[in-house]
Symmetry: C2
């Protein structure tokens, strides 16, 4: 897929078919994640690939907006690893860039995904920490539910001239 087509047509996908996601596809998505820029090129990220149905069934009790994970072939929890930071405080930005790369790669593969929020909500952080046995330095940021799309969403431009300012804030 062409880059600008990918940027313009990616949408959040929340309904998936039963078709599995292959190991090669997952590797492509995770490599895209790890090509993201990071402060000091620290790459302060860790990825938990979740495929166990028993665990996926419990996601909805951590975050109801991610309950569709129980009906998707695979999900990935993207985490910051505080022990890897060179410039403390940038892991959220670094990992968010990695997530955006993943969403684009997923779309480019013909798959679909939705980014569900974890950080900074304390209850969701604790829920994922308990479910997946995360130690203190591993900070869950975002939970991506991934699969083959079972919905077609049109894409419209979100470009807004009024969000652009020149050389100073213009209210």
């Amino acid at each position: 897929m062409e880059l600008f087509e990918a940027l313009k047509t990616r949408r959040s996908i929340r309904k998936f078919t039963d078709e599995p996601v292959s190991d090669d596809e997952l590797k492509t998505v995770l490599e895209a994640a790890m090509m993201a820029p990071s402060a000091g090129n620290a790459q302060p990220w860790q990825f938990i690939v979740v495929t166990e149905q028993e665990k996926l069934e419990k996601i909805g009790s951590i975050n109801p907006y991610a309950a569709m994970a129980a009906r998707a072939p695979v999900s990935i929890l993207v985490c910051g690893d505080l022990s890897l930071e060179k410039f403390p405080g940038y892991w959220v930005q670094d990992c968010s860039a990695a997530v955006e790369n993943m969403l684009l790669a997923i779309h480019g593969l013909g798959l679909g995904a939705v980014w569900t929020g974890v950080h900074p909500l304390k209850e969701r952080i604790k829920g994922f920490r308990d479910l997946l046995g995360l130690p203190e330095q591993i900070q869950p940021l975002a939970f991506l539910v991934i699969g083959h799309p079972d919905q077609q969403l049109k894409s419209e431009s979100r470009y807004r001239e009024d969000r652009i300012h020149h050389n100073q804030w213009e209210g």
Copy 2:
């Protein structure tokens, strides 16, 4: 440019030629930014395009790692707008996704850029706030210096198998 080529070959560019960046190119970059996902699709972002040489000369005193802005045709300060958030606390992630889209679009156009960090460093935030007249609800996140690359950087895979875990944290 093909999506996966863009994901794999994007690098931070810090040296630029004198060639200007066109208004069409800037619009393409800003539209890519605004196509990013955001919590509740709130799109809580604002963009300050900086081209005034007098202001660009002052960037180095706010952040020495961004001093090359004085020798680049254009820079963009990406800000969160707290008044636009639907789910408070997600603007850093939303705006970081927008920045990553911008970096990919810039690369796809044959331009180059570097993401220099602002948030969460209080002094840099104050520096940009004072320089560009930002009101309280406008939170500067990242400052992108953009131009035509005057350096060639090879890209190597950053893929690391040891950052991938299955169904639980495995140390």
